[in-house]
Subunit: 327 residues, 2 copies
């Protein structure tokens, strides 16, 4: 049996061709984004689109709701697709929408994208409130129903407070350590220690703005970073969250950054000279290249068991323990 390969963050321009790429690399499960700035109603339309993809590609993908759906996909040679939000915009100002979203299949929700949300502060704000009053209520409710808190785009204080306030482990689904590459979106050692000490997961990102040397980052450097993270935080809380956006046109990254909150462009992690999606590293062009990651991890000294954990085993255990109400 192939190992459960889980990528905990993708936002591709979905098509049967990309689902076939997932199958070529035996990707067992992905967590994909179904909302950046969408309202509840707009997000539901995205779920409708996914229902069509499931209907049209029954030989390639299944909807993922529990860890057992990963095992089912593994057995059937399909990819289980789990849903998440990169921003709490779909719950609007309504605490009760958290359980409704869980019932629709949502399993992750970031408390913020780059900006201040009603719940907490994003990493691009100049000042960080930590959790708001609604943010605290939302965490209680997410803990209750088993919708996982993701702080990938959140600011430092908000992230530390979420780790502390949540009674269940949280995740940073797609980011890298600041000590490897000091990007604004990467995370401090302090945050990663608090996260992993509370059984939270970090998904290492392959998005070039999060990589040392950007698109020119070497596979060896990326895998050495994971080895260093394993020595600092232990291996159990490490996984992958590639942030892969295969086939997305540049106006999509503009939507992610600017949404509807500004009439002028905000380049986010990009710049005026590089406003669009950056070029992926040549050793990870898209879902066809997961074997390279596996070999890279071998090359820096991880054994087969450790590679299995990093490439999916740890996420699977996390899914088992954290989706749905406490057993």
């Amino acid at each position: 049996m192939v190992i459960p390969l889980i990528d905990d963050l993708q936002y591709c321009n979905w098509s049967t061709e990309i689902f076939r790429q997932l199958r070529k690399s035996n990707v067992t499960a992905i967590h994909t984004t179904v909302a950046y700035h969408e309202s509840f109603r707009e997000m539901v339309s995205n779920l409708g689109a996914w229902n069509c993809w499931f209907e049209q590609n029954p030989d390639l993908i299944i909807k993922g709701l529990t860890g057992n759906d990963v095992r089912l996909a593994q057995k059937q040679n399909k990819t289980a697709v789990f849903f998440g939000f990169q921003n709490p915009s779909p719950i609007e100002d309504d605490l009760r929408l958290i359980e409704i979203c869980f019932q629709l299949g949502i399993r992750f929700m970031q408390l913020t994208y780059n900006n201040q949300s009603l719940l907490a502060t994003g990493v691009y704000e100049s000042s960080d409130t930590g959790l708001t009053r609604f943010g605290q209520q939302a965490i209680l409710e997410m803990n209750r129903v088993g919708l996982v808190i993701d702080m990938s785009h959140s600011a430092e204080r908000s992230t530390l407070e979420a780790i502390d306030f949540s009674t269940r482990p949280i995740v940073i689904s797609h980011a890298n350590p600041v000590w490897w590459h000091p990007a604004r979106r990467n995370k401090s050692d302090n945050v990663l220690r608090a996260l992993t000490a509370n059984e939270g997961m970090i998904g290492f990102s392959l998005y070039p703005h999060h990589l040392r040397d950007g698109s020119n980052c070497s596979l060896e450097s990326f895998c050495e970073m994971i080895a260093e993270a394993a020595s600092r935080y232990g291996i159990n809380q490490l996984g992958l969250g590639s942030d892969l956006c295969t086939g997305q046109p540049d106006q999509v990254v503009e939507w992610m950054r600017v949404g509807r909150w500004s009439k002028t462009i905000d380049y986010g992690e990009g710049s005026k000279s590089q406003p669009g999606f950056p070029t992926m590293p040549q050793w990870f062009r898209d879902n066809r290249d997961w074997e390279n990651i596996k070999q890279g991890l071998q090359h820096v000294g991880f054994n087969t068991n450790e590679i299995t954990m990093i490439m999916g085993g740890n996420w699977l255990k996390f899914y088992d323990d954290n989706f749905g109400s406490v057993k």
Copy 2:
């Protein structure tokens, strides 16, 4: 001709009876709230209800859009009704909804109610970011279209930053000075100096939680507070904003406080022993009692011209200067 009596904040349970009370006291104009936690769509339904009231009570009320509508109402012995939001929830996450709301007749918008909003921080949060990135964009747009910024329920730093960042005067439509009554919702001397130095207006509140001695506050104490404010800030920036909620059932104050963000009750300015609307002072039961305020102001030494300014003249000048794009 009667003086233009303007009350810059009311949220009554509107009816023909209350419109008649407004007329009995010759109230020339009011600013009334059309959204606390409503989404854009929900707020539009509230405007629909107002359109019906205008249609059904053409002898009592007219819709107010400019200072000249106050003069028209004065001439016709009617009350001009101006619209505002106590929370930016109706613009959701969409900067472009600011101009749309202006076009629908909205003239005031609070950047926050009690909690953190997408724009700034409310006074009940434990930490205050000041203006968010979206908040700064929103102020630029509100300044452009001439939709007035109201910081009545906002926290200190957010309020000071809004005064500073806005190129046009802003208001605190309903609050009193902390130096008179140290309620959480009342404003520091620092805020009131910055507000008025920038030609912003303060509307003195008659809501018992904002009054020294609450429901037992004396008319003399209230008017002496206005006299002290006049000596500190000058008389030109002072007005009234009663926060009158005639006829509202207690579940309305619960909606104001809790909206949809909490499943447990938050008492806001109230308490477990006093969860509902407080009793109004006996000298200001409702819109029938404005003459008492006028006499109270005379009693503490204001002359006729000064009383005219405080009771409506200052607001009228502010409306003339600040509704709509810069002439």
